[in-house]
């Protein structure tokens, strides 16, 4: 196990059950997971294996039924909704398959959104947005609305928006799912560059080649971690044995 000081995310005995009609769906079963700062993780597995639920849980959009979740040394299982929103805004960045840009807002305004929501003054916001637009090569697209942008540009806007508040962890759910191969490649390189700068990156994907690029690969099956491999070596004991 990695040292606690190094540890960003600690999940202990997490269970999550959904009720669908009469039947109970066990989305996550007794998940134990330790993620250090700066890791690059791919979560893979078939549909319904619980990988998206795991991502939502790490992103604090969902709560576990049992178990504890410690984010940066703080137990976040017991926080109120408003406290969770604050942690989400400051420490977590989301990237979605369908980008989720607000259609009536320009690229710049979409990137500005997290800053606006957390109440940062306008002058500071403009400065940071201009900087982000430059970093992501979007300066000349700043005043275009999402429907005037290409898929790759849209995802870059989404990544700029997710990282503008310098979160500790970046969660990407099928970030290349709606993109063609070359654009997808571009986006992945961008994410990897962010990871190289020290940002923890967790990618959920179906794509084997994309998954293979991550240093650590977690395979999920039926709500459990089936295997957890770092650069070819098993890092932690899978659930089956605990």
């Amino acid at each position: 196990m990695p040292d606690d000081a190094e540890s960003l995310i600690q999940l202990n005995g997490i269970n999550r059950t959904f009720t669908l009609g009469d039947s109970q769906v066990h989305a996550l079963r007794n998940i134990n997971l330790n993620i250090a700062r700066g890791e690059y993780i791919a979560v893979m597995g078939p549909s319904g294996s619980g990988k998206s639920t795991l991502l939502n849980l790490i992103g604090l959009l969902d709560r576990a039924d049992t178990g504890t979740y410690i984010l940066e040394g703080r137990d976040v299982t017991t926080l109120s909704q408003d406290e969770l929103a604050k942690v989400r805004s400051e420490r977590v960045g989301f990237i979605f398959q369908s980008f989720h840009l607000v259609p009536r807002l320009t690229a710049a305004a979409n990137i500005e959104l997290p800053l606006t929501l957390s109440g940062i003054p306008a002058s500071e916001r403009t400065k940071r947005v201009t900087q982000a637009l430059k970093e992501y090569g979007l300066t000349d697209r700043a005043h275009h609305r999402p429907n005037e942008l290409s898929g790759g540009q849209r995802q870059r806007v989404a990544i700029a928006r997710a990282t503008i508040l310098r979160p500790a962890v970046l969660l990407a759910d099928e970030p290349t799912g709606n993109l063609d191969r070359t654009t997808g490649e571009e986006v992945v390189r961008l994410l990897e560059a962010l990871n190289a700068q020290g940002m923890t990156l967790i990618v959920v994907t179906h794509d084997q080649t994309l998954g293979a690029r991550a240093r650590r690969q977690i395979k999920m099956e039926d709500g459990s971690i089936a295997s957890d491999i770092t650069n070819g070596a098993v890092t932690s004991t899978p659930n089956v044995l605990t």
Binding site: L61, A85, K86, R88, L113, P121, R161
Partner: protein
């Protein structure tokens, strides 16, 4: 999230769907405009009537011959059915009643005026020199009737503005002699234009001394006696003593009716206020309908923007912030509609005044404030449910919808 940012985000969201927003604001503004215009109409009617009554003069007590109320059977009624006439002497006696400032006897008849080769029918009023102050009329030229101490009537006439213009044109009529009925009278003055009173314009009147008029009409009765009390407070007291004095003079028979302008005025005021409230109530229904429309539009908006709400939550917006965004949007929509409607209403009232210049169709302030207040509160009340629905959305489900 800062308040200013909340407002900007909400107004961006509203202008993002221009057609829907426009229609909603149209509905709201029609509601408010209806309140403003209808109350302007109602209140205008009240002002018009009150103005007409006030134009007769202030603090007035009016004595009419004849009794207007029914009493029990009296054998005397079988013998004498005609009431005693009101006379000039009755009128001058009233001057001695405490609290009375001025009196004006009034005789009315139609006659002909003939001068400069032109002939015209006109209403003639026979009265005294105080009439101009009791009725609060204004002179355009010359002077009013002189004081008739002896009661024989002098050969003077004061012309209404229209009669003067039709007979003399731009010529100066003062000192000219005109033939009125069978008399030759000297023009001593002209009333100024636009005098009003009980739907009768003074522009077409001839005013002559009461004795002259009575002689011409071959009568010694009066049409009315106008009594002006010293103050508003004394009106009731004056009314009672005027009645008592006349009864005494008429051998104990109550054969006159005494009315006060105030009583008539108050009744009309009450009736027309109720009318105004009634029509504004009807208009308020359209405001309520507009409020429900706000709710409907906001609910549709929440449904359409489910993914956006999920995103806002993923980006760290609290439920309170989301609720606030939608509340502010609802309030902005209805308030803008309300302000537009107020402008529209004022425009409508101005158009009414333009079309009917004598009709004072000014919307009362309370109605404008009530209209705006209703618009604002309907935005608040009908915005609550959609905003709560938005705030309670589960971010995961909201995000998966697209």
């Amino acid at each position: 999230m800062k308040i200013s940012d909340t407002f900007r985000y909400a107004s961006d969201a509203a202008t993002g769907t221009p057609l829907r927003t426009g229609l909603l604001m149209l509905a709201m503004s029609i509601g408010v405009a209806a309140v403003v215009v209808l109350t302007a109409l109602g209140d205008g009617a009240r002002r018009y009537v009150v103005g007409q009554f006030s134009a007769i003069g202030s603090n007035l007590v009016i004595v009419l011959p004849g009794r207007s109320e029914t009493r029990g059977f009296n054998p005397a009624n079988l013998v004498t059915s005609t009431p005693r006439d009101l006379t000039v002497n009755d009128a001058s006696t009233l001057l001695r009643v405490p609290g009375v400032l001025r009196i004006s006897p009034v005789v009315i008849g139609t006659t002909e005026i003939n001068a400069a080769g032109k002939l015209r029918e006109a209403m003639m009023v026979g009265t005294n020199d105080d009439f101009i102050r009791v009725r609060q009329l204004k002179l355009g030229l010359g002077r009013f009737l002189s004081k008739d101490e002896v009661g024989h009537g002098s050969a003077e006439v004061v012309l209404g503005a229209l009669i003067r213009q039709e007979i003399f044109g731009s010529e100066n009529p003062l000192g000219k002699t005109v033939r009125v009925g069978d008399r030759r009278l000297r023009v001593v003055g002209v009333l100024s234009e636009g005098g009003q009173g009980l739907g009768m314009t003074t522009d077409e009147l001839l005013i002559v001394p009461v004795a002259t008029a009575q002689a011409m009409l071959n009568t010694n009765t009066l049409f009315r006696i106008l009594v002006e009390a010293r103050s508003r407070e004394q009106i009731g007291e004056v009314k009672a003593s005027v009645l008592k004095t006349i009864i005494q003079r008429h051998e104990g028979e109550e054969d006159v009716t005494v009315i006060t302008q105030d009583a008539v005025l108050q009744t009309f005021d009450k009736i027309l206020n109720v009318l105004t409230l009634g029509v504004s109530g009807i208009a308020a229904i359209s405001l309520a309908v507009a409020g429900i429309l706000v709710m409907n539009v906001m609910l549709v908006s929440v449904t359409q923007r489910t993914a956006e709400i999920g995103l806002l939550k993923a980006l760290g917006a609290t439920s309170a912030a989301v609720r606030q965004l939608f509340m502010v949007e609802a309030v902005l929509l209805s308030l803008t509609g309300g302000v537009l409607g107020t402008g529209l209403g004022y425009l409508g009232a101005a158009l009414l005044r333009h079309l009917y210049p004598t009709f004072p169709a000014y919307p009362p302030l309370w109605a404008v404030l009530a209209g705006l207040g209703t618009a604002l509160s309907s935005g608040l009340i009908f915005g609550v449910m959609p905003a709560r629905r938005a705030a309670q959305l589960d971010p995961i489900q909201a995000l998966s919808k697209r």
